[in-house]
């Protein structure tokens, strides 16, 4: 299905609290119970399943999205409390590159084989996008430290660092 088509409220009926998100550039309205997390809303209601549920406790980073431009763990955000915010997921990044293509980070992860099973990859890429926007990492050591909220059980860290460094270098941000 086309995940960009958001049918307002239909999926959850009339109960719950109405909220509106700017979701990958599209306005998305829904009714949610207070205990629904942003992660569950993204996956179960908006059918944006690129954002992964790993530990569901903020410890692994697989659910990382950009909330109003900043990387956060979507499993620890209640959907009602982020009403009115802009959310960017891996699906949104996939169309943000030049000419609507892949984000340069996505291409770099492919070029550097920065994944094995790939389950952590959407969170890693969203986190790396946030890291670049923050502008605090210029060296390998700084990239490693500031990517430490994303765990990869395969241990693909070296290639992930290579991929992030290559984009920093291309954008003239590496030291």
């Amino acid at each position: 299905m086309d995940t960009r088509v958001h049918s307002p409220a239909a999926a959850l009926g009339d109960s719950g609290i109405p909220i509106t998100l700017q979701l990958n550039g599209f306005s998305h309205t829904a009714r949610v119970e207070p205990w629904v997390t942003l992660l569950d809303l993204l996956r179960e209601e908006a059918h944006l399943t690129g954002t992964k549920k790993g530990c569901d406790h903020g410890q692994c980073g697989a659910c990382t999205v950009l909330l109003d431009g900043k990387r956060v763990n979507s499993c620890l955000q209640l959907a009602v409390s982020v009403d009115g915010s802009a959310v960017q997921t891996i699906e949104g990044l996939a169309e943000s590159g030049e000419g609507g293509g892949l984000d340069p980070l996505q291409q770099a992860f492919m070029d550097h084989d920065a994944f094995q099973c790939g389950y952590c990859t959407p969170g890693q890429i969203c986190s790396a996008r946030g890291l670049i926007a923050e502008g605090k990492a210029r060296t390998r050591e700084e990239v490693r430290e500031l990517m430490s909220g994303n765990l990869c059980r395969c241990g693909a860290y070296t290639n992930i660092t290579d991929a992030v460094m290559s984009v920093l270098q291309r954008e003239g941000l590496a030291k």
Partner: protein
């Protein structure tokens, strides 16, 4: 997660009004509360969302200090130019904690009020006087690697998990709160409680009281400071032991005043004014720093699995004092210690 009512407050007055008369929790960044809701450790009937309150500013105070809004995120605080320039100890401590994603969401008020990460507190099948008063303490006699060596009681040996608070203790910050009976200020040293016989209360907040800001005094120890954090892995782990040090040196290199706070060792950031007094008027030396460490650790007791922390803390205190005196603070990127 239990079901709960949700209410959104527009200002501090409304938040305090909404808070009256029910088992409620304030929701800000959510990074600790939502986790505790999922674990059924916190079971409020009402959650009051305060994230839209106008308390995210970082502004100068009349006495030359800095006011950190309760809703400023940990990341915005750590990277704020005034904090970086004047209170680098605080920046360093914040950046030693959690992960970038968590620091982007977590707020300053929430950092103060986060709850212990004691495994038995999180495990609702275990006895825990903090979670369920009177039920006992499964940590005592259990796995105690992360537990307290100072200020604990037979009711509770949990530690406060914050890094930020250890720096705030050394900086002698003030916590500003608003509640049903108005506003008041609490000295940071008095804010968190020792467990005593009621570990269910982590701090001195009364029912319905809300943290609105943290005030930093003018003295920020910007030249001679360090935040040294020792943990089981180099990133994204709670401290086994951490040390925040701020020193003021005179032109001859003697210590005018010194502040030392420990993290990971007690129910609250641990300070000992008598240990700090030893520093006054003295030239930095290994012998002096050992004396300060011994004084800080007076009365420290292990519970088996955490016995190692006493010697670890002693060495960390000496190293941190040396780093601060030399003006070579611990890097939070290059963290290996030989």
């Amino acid at each position: 997660m239990n079901r709960f009512e949700y209410a959104r407050a527009a200002d501090a007055g409304e938040a305090v009004r909404l808070a009256s008369g029910s088992a409620m929790r304030f929701l800000a960044g959510g990074t600790n509360l939502v986790d505790l809701l999922k674990e059924n450790v916190e079971r409020p009937t009402k959650v009051i969302d305060i994230r839209r309150l106008p308390l995210a500013g970082i502004t100068a105070t009349d006495d030359g200090g800095l006011r950190l809004g309760a809703l400023a995120t940990n990341a915005d605080t750590a990277w704020h130019p005034e904090v970086e320039a004047r209170y680098p100890l605080l920046s360093s401590a914040i950046l030693a904690g959690a992960s970038p994603q968590l620091r982007n969401a977590a707020t300053n008020g929430g950092n103060l009020n986060q709850r212990t990460r004691c495994y038995y507190f999180y495990d609702t099948a275990a006895a825990c006087n903090k979670r369920e008063p009177g039920s006992g303490c499964s940590a005592i006699g259990g796995v105690t690697r992360i537990h307290a060596i100072l200020g604990s009681s037979e009711a509770c040996i949990a530690t406060h998990p914050s890094d930020m608070c250890v720096a705030l203790a050394a900086l002698e910050a003030t916590v500003r709160v608003q509640g049903p009976s108005g506003e008041r200020s609490i000295a940071f040293a008095d804010y968190h409680r020792l467990p005593g016989d009621d570990p269910s209360r982590d701090n001195q907040l009364a029912d319905g009281e809300l943290v609105t800001a943290i005030d930093l005094p003018a003295e920020g120890y910007a030249t001679h400071y360090t935040y040294l954090k020792l943990r089981d892995r180099l990133s994204y782990a709670f401290a086994l032991v951490s040390v925040a040090v701020g020193l003021r040196l005179d032109e001859a290199g003697r210590i005018v005043t010194g502040r030392v706070a420990l993290g990971g060792v007690a129910h609250k950031p641990w300070r000992e004014p008598r240990a700090e007094a030893l520093l006054e008027g003295q030239a930095p030396s290994q012998a002096l720093f050992l004396q300060v460490a011994d004084s800080l650790l007076l009365g420290a007791v292990g519970r088996g699995g955490n016995d190692f922390k006493i010697e670890l803390a002693r060495k960390a205190i000496v190293r941190a004092l040396r780093q601060a005196a030399a003006g070579t603070p611990q890097s939070q990127t290059d963290k290996r210690v030989a």
